[in-house]
Structures are given as C-alpha cells and as structure tokens.
C-alpha cells in the first residue's frame, strides 16, 4: 500500500466513525454558532467598528470550535485504546500523523462551512464575490491549525487536564497563524484584492509548511512508548 | 526624581526574583541531601542488625 492509500484508509476510518455518531461534528457546529451569538452581544451590529471586529469573531469561532474537535481526535483513541491497534499496523508513524491531520482538517472545514453560512445570515455580509480568496485564506489557516493541533492533541491526550493542556500548547504556537488569518480575512472583506494580502499569505504558507515538516518528523517520538 | 523610584523598584524586583529562585534551589538541594543521609543511616544500622529492621526505622522517619 502506498502512502496515499494508507492516509486515505486512516481518514476513512475516522470519517466513518464520525458519520455514525456525528456527535463531534454536531458539538463543533453548535459551539461555533454559540460563539458567534455571544460575540454578537458583545459587539452589537450598530457599532461603528464592526468591520474590524467581524474577521476576529469569525476566526475566534473557528479556532475555539476547531480545538474542541481536534482535542477529540486523540482523546477518543487514547480512551478506547485504539491507538495501540493503529500502532501495531505496519504503517510509518508519519503516515498516521498525516492521516489524523487530514481527518481533522476535513471535520474542521465542515464546521467552518456551516459557520460561514450562519455568519452570512447573522451579519448580513455577502460573501459570494470574495468567496475564492476567502476560502484560500481559510484553507491555509485551517491547515496550519490542524497541523499543530494534531500533534499537540497526541501529546496532551496523555496528560492530566487534557483539554486545558491542549489549549496551552496550541495557542502560543498558533499566534502567527491567527494574526495572519484574521488580518487577511479583514482585508478581503474590505474588498481588497489578493495582492494586498500577499505578505500574510506568505506567513500562512511558511507556517503550514514548516510545522507540517517538523510535526511529521517528530510525531513518531510522541507515540512510541 | 520620581523616575528613580521606578528604577529602584525594577532592580529590587529583579534581584528578589533571582535570589528567590537561587535560594529555592539550594533549600531543595539541602533537604534532599538530608533525606539521603537519613536513608544511608537507616541502611547502615540495619546492615548490622539484619534487614527486617529497615521497615521500622524508615517508617519512623516518614
């Protein structure tokens, strides 16, 4: 079995598991919905600076909800002991990492799509004209977030205070990602073209590539006993 | 000369932190070394009189 097939199998395993219960996906979507609503009370639509705040609200919803889902990815494995089973397969550790990461990415993207719809409705923004650059930014941001989130989920699943530990690990590292995504989204929503957010995109790509590489290389240290 | 107060507080805080840390390390070290000395004593005594007494001596210390 080559690399892609192995990854696909792992992703498929997580996907079908989730499809049966759908509990993680539903909690993620409900949570991001709640975050948006709460922010709506914090910054009611009449406020002048609402244009500045909107990208922030969107990404806060993405990130907090994404963290919930990513935390589950290894939490469940650890609790059910299925990680052992996975490790017994003759699969390179890095491949397991990529498989898990892609799975997390897919789930987080589904949540984000749902959130965007809610967002469009509640904030009365028309996203259609800027859909392509917006999706590009969201994809780059989500990739970066799941890249570090997955490996830290594997680490924190083995600690006490699992979710708190995951947040403490992910947030400081994800700072450049968050800044770049929010700023870029803000510019796009303002109607600026892609060329103006070039430096932010550079940072996103640099983040994604660097940490994908580092995580891929160090993952096997994390899961070996 | 209000500024001098700022300077004073900054340096005092800095040195207090450094000293606290340093002091904490040496205190911990002393305590560990003491405990190790006690354990050595317990071991020595029992070597003379037989190994079952370790339980008594060590537990008395705990």
């Amino acid at each position: 079995m080559n690399f892609l097939n192995k990854v696909r199998t792992i992703v498929w395993k997580d996907f079908t598991h989730e499809l049966r219960s759908r509990e993680m996906l539903i909690s993620m979507c409900v949570f991001s919905f709640l975050v948006i609503i709460i922010f709506n009370f914090a910054f009611p639509p009449g406020v002048e600076d609402v244009d500045w705040i909107i990208p922030g609200i969107l990404w806060v919803a993405f990130i907090f909800s994404g963290l919930l889902g990513i935390g589950r990815s290894f939490g469940v494995e650890k609790d059910k002991g299925s990680l052992q089973g996975l490790l017994l397969c003759p699969v390179e550790r890095g491949t397991i990492y990529v498989g898990k990461m892609v799975g997390n990415f897919i789930f987080m993207s589904m949540m984000e799509a749902f959130t965007l719809v809610i967002f469009t409705i509640l904030f009365n923004v028309n996203l259609f004209p800027i859909l392509i650059p917006l999706v590009l930014i969201i994809v780059l941001g989500t990739v970066g977030f799941t890249v570090v989130g997955t490996i830290f989920s594997a680490i924190s699943a083995n600690t006490r205070a699992r979710d708190v530990m995951l947040s403490m690990l992910v947030f400081p590292i994800a700072v450049p990602l968050i800044i770049a995504s929010i700023k870029a989204t803000g510019k796009i929503l303002d109607g600026k073209s892609l060329s103006e957010i070039y430096s932010w995109l550079k940072i996103l790509v640099a983040f994604d590539v660097t940490f994908l590489l580092v995580s891929y290389l160090t993952f096997h240290f994390v899961v070996e006993e | 000369m209000n500024n001098a107060w700022y300077l004073f507080s900054a340096s005092t805080i800095a040195w207090i932190i450094i000293f606290l840390y340093s002091y904490g390390i040496s205190k911990k070290q002393k305590s560990l070394e003491n405990q190790m000395a006690e354990m050595k004593e317990a071991l020595r005594k029992c070597h003379i009189s037989g190994s079952s007494c370790i339980r008594v001596i060590w537990q008395k210390k705990q």
């Binding site: 570090v148 490996i151 830290f152 680490i155 083995n158 600690t159 006490r160 530990m165 403490m168 690990l169 400081p172 590292i173 700072v175 450049p176 800044i179 770049a180 700023k183 430096s199 932010w200 940072i203 640099a206 983040f207 660097t210 940490f211 580092v214 995580s215 160090t218 240290f221 994390v222 006993e225 | 000369m1 209000n2 500024n3 001098a4 700022y6 300077l7 900054a10 340096s11 805080i13 800095a14 932190i17 450094i18 840390y21 340093s22 390390i25 040496s26 911990k28 070290q29 560990l32 070394e33 405990q35 190790m36 354990m39 050595k40 317990a42 071991l43 190994s51 370790i54 339980r55 060590w58």
Partner: protein
C-alpha cells in the same frame, strides 16, 4: 566539575556582577532625555538576551535528546527552560516599569513586547507540560514542544511586526545608537548576566541529578523493605 573550578567560577560571577552594578549606577552617564530610569535598560536588554539564549539551549538540547535519548540532555533542557522563564519574566516586569514613566503606558502591543509575551507563554506551557505529563513521556513530549516552540519564534516575530510598529531601535544595521560609556556598561552587564545564567543553570542541573540519586536510593530502600 572540580571543586576549585566551581569556586573560581562563582567568585568570578559575583565580582563581575558587582562590577556591572557599579558600572550601571556609578559609571554610566545619565541619559539626557529619559533620565535616571534609562538605567533599567541594562537589566532589561541583558535579561532579554539571556532568555533567548536559554530558549535556544532548550531547542538544541531537545533535538539532542530526541536523537541520543541521553537523560542529561533532558535535564539541560528542563533547567534551561526554567531559567529562561525567569529571565523572560524579568524582561516583562522591567519593560513596563521602564515604559510607564517614559511612554506613559504600562503596555503596548508592539512587535518586540508582544513576541516576548508569546515567548513567555510558550515556555510556561513547556513547564506546565512537564508537570502534567507522566514520568516516562514527559521528556519526549517537552522535547517535541521545545523544538516546535523555538521554531515558532521567528515566524511569530515577523507576523507581529507586519501587524504593528514603537520600540526604540537601539541596534540598527548601521550602528549602535548609544554613547560609548553606555556601551561599555552594557557589555559588562551582559557578561555578568551570562555568568549568572550559567551559575543558575549549573545549580539547577546539579539539583536534578541529586534528585535522581535520591529517587534511586528511595526505590532501593523500598525494594529492601518489601523483601
């Protein structure tokens, strides 16, 4: 390390530090615009430099630990992280104390301060991870985090810099923006703080080794007990 070498080292550290304090408070001139409070600069910059050195050491030691699996690299990483957090805390404390009378605010979200704050959080999380992880895994987990955390620093710095710009630029590419006696004082302070750093580092590592010996002895004793 041989006893006399250690004593010489500690005496040197002490005298250099005293010399630095003399230089800061008595030798260095009082800066024109800021006044006497500018002298915090020497503590502040030295602490910042050393915390960065400390975190770099954590990075290298983490890599070496993952490669060689020798416990001594883990001890080095942990000790360096702790002391790095101490120095970073000093930066974050002396910075605002300096800023308040000069810029009239305790805090600004400028690139260097913000990056330092994030750096502080990364290594505090490192130390928390050490506490929360189980015995066998804590060394590996923190090593991985130590590597990721350090690599994150330049990326974070650039991201924040593109986002903002207030910190006085003392060291430009063309030269240094301060007068000669101040430069000398800075160098002496840097040397003194570096020696202090290594003194603390060695003390901390020594403590860890003693603790290991203690745990071993305790285990031995308990084993004897259970016979």
């Amino acid at each position: 390390m041989r006893r006399w070498v250690r004593i010489v080292f500690e005496v040197t550290t002490l005298t250099t530090m005293v010399g630095a304090l003399y230089a800061i408070f008595l030798y260095a001139p009082i800066e024109k615009t800021m006044g006497i409070i500018q002298k915090i600069f020497y503590f502040h910059v030295s602490s910042a430099f050393l915390s960065f050195v400390a975190f770099f050491i954590v990075f290298v030691a983490s890599i070496l630990f993952l490669y060689r699996r020798d416990r001594k690299w883990d001890i080095l990483a942990q000790s360096s992280a702790e002391i790095g957090v101490i120095f970073c805390t000093l930066v974050l404390i002396t910075g605002p104390i300096w800023a308040k009378p000069i810029w009239n605010v305790w805090w600004t979200w400028d690139p260097r301060l913000t990056t330092t704050l994030i750096l502080w959080f990364i290594y505090v999380s490192y130390l928390m991870l050490r506490k929360m992880a189980g015995e066998g895994q804590r060394a590996t987990f923190t090593a991985v985090f130590g590597i990721i955390g350090f690599i994150n620093v330049p990326i974070t710095f650039f991201a924040i810099r593109i986002w903002r710009t207030i910190h006085p630029i003392v060291i430009r590419s063309s030269g240094i923006n301060i007068t000669s006696p101040m430069l000398n004082t800075l160098i002496i302070t840097l040397v003194a703080f570096t020696l202090l750093f290594f003194h603390l580092l060695m003390a901390r590592m020594r403590l860890e080794r003693i603790r290991e010996g203690y745990e071993e002895m305790k285990a031995l004793l308990e084993e004897q007990e259970n016979r």
